[in-house]
């Protein structure tokens, strides 16, 4: 408990856990090359499973099951007693372990440094990816124009 700072804001934590979950595993590994020598205790070994993804038509209709996706989860504890959880996309156990470590360290006084070095680049890249995809899709959009044919008159 020594290293923990102010209590973590759940909404803030939700956001960074989401960023970690959606990050590319190899990119997270690049940003966090050597795991800092926190020597965490693994409380739950990384394990692979599936979760049901739900959607809503138009983001407002009744929820329906969109399909299952593969996730990997992991929980670990730092020597200071701080616990980090991660559920990440895909089957990479290293990714889950690293994401759990970041989640734990984000609750300690290393939060500012990690936010700058790891989370902000990941969030930026995710936003870029989304924008690039949206732009690509927008470029293929076909607009139909119909000339007035005169039936309305």
């Amino acid at each position: 408990m020594t290293a923990s700072v102010a209590p973590t804001d759940p909404e803030d934590r939700r956001i960074w856990m989401g960023v970690l979950a959606r990050a590319r595993p190899e990119r997270l590994a690049e940003l966090m090359p050597a795991e800092p020598d926190e020597n965490p205790v693994i409380l739950r070994q990384p394990e692979i499973g599936t979760v049901m993804v739900q959607g809503r038509i138009g983001a407002s209709g009744g929820p329906f099951n969109l399909g299952e996706m593969t996730v990997t989860r992991c929980t670990l504890r730092l020597q200071s007693g701080v616990v980090g959880h991660a559920h990440v996309q895909g089957r990479s156990k290293d990714h889950a372990r690293r994401a759990a470590l970041v989640d734990a360290l984000m609750q300690t006084d290393r939060a500012a440094q990690l936010r700058r070095d790891v989370l902000e680049p990941l969030a930026q890249e995710e936003a870029d990816r989304r924008r690039a995809r949206a732009e690509k899709a927008a470029a293929t959009k076909v607009e139909f124009f119909t000339l007035v044919r005169g039936e309305d008159r």
Partner: protein, 193 residues
């Protein structure tokens, strides 16, 4: 919820879940197949007051589809958090339980537990009874899986006789003490000494 997710709550799971749970499951099968024969299992380190054997059985057998009832002083925050974190099993009152854990006196009255229905005798509860001692002496057991006679320290022989009288209905029981576990299915007769 956040208060229950402390470091002690989350520790003590399997280090190597596939192998440890497979070994424990085999031991649980053997215990039920050979009533009265004591098996040694381990791998889980549950928070007090649960024993290693009872904790290992729960990690092995319980999951999100098997409601668990915690009886007496087993119903504490540390244990609730531990079971939820490691197994995701819902914690329920005795009537709805598939597994019930606690000391014998805390599990009473036994009429609360499901004994199955004639169509589905498998819809019965399995009790995990925490024992102060568990040794191969005391009450005499006979029935399927027992060659001649077996002996086992039972908390209340009459209760198990009454349970056997319900056969094919009735609950099944694991008796646990430390890292030792013995099975006592409903098919076992408890004889007069």
């Amino acid at each position: 919820m956040a208060s229950a997710l402390t470091a002690e709550t989350l520790g003590g799971g399997f280090d190597d879940a596939p192998i440890q749970s497979a070994r424990a499951f085999r031991a649980a099968l053997d215990a039920m197949a050979r009533p009265g024969r004591i098996q040694v299992i381990g791998g889980a380190v549950p928070p007090a007051p649960l024993s290693v054997a009872a904790g290992t059985l729960l990690l092995t057998l319980a999951d999100g589809t098997t409601p668990v009832h915690l009886a007496g002083d087993a119903d504490c925050d540390a244990l609730r958090g531990w079971i939820t974190f490691h197994t995701a099993a819902p914690l329920v009152p005795a009537e709805a339980a598939v597994f019930a854990v606690g000391r014998w006196t805390d599990l009473l009255p036994l009429a609360r537990f499901a004994t199955g229905t004639p169509e589905y005798p498998d819809r019965a509860a399995t009790l995990i009874v925490e024992m102060p001692v568990l040794e191969a002496k005391g009450s005499v057991l006979a029935g399927p899986g027992i060659r001649d006679r077996a002996r086992l320290t039972l908390p209340d022989p009459d209760a198990f006789r009454a349970n056997h009288a319900l056969f094919p209905l009735g609950f099944d029981a694991f008796l646990t003490c430390g890292s030792r576990v013995a099975g006592l299915p409903r098919s076992t007769r408890v004889e007069d000494v």
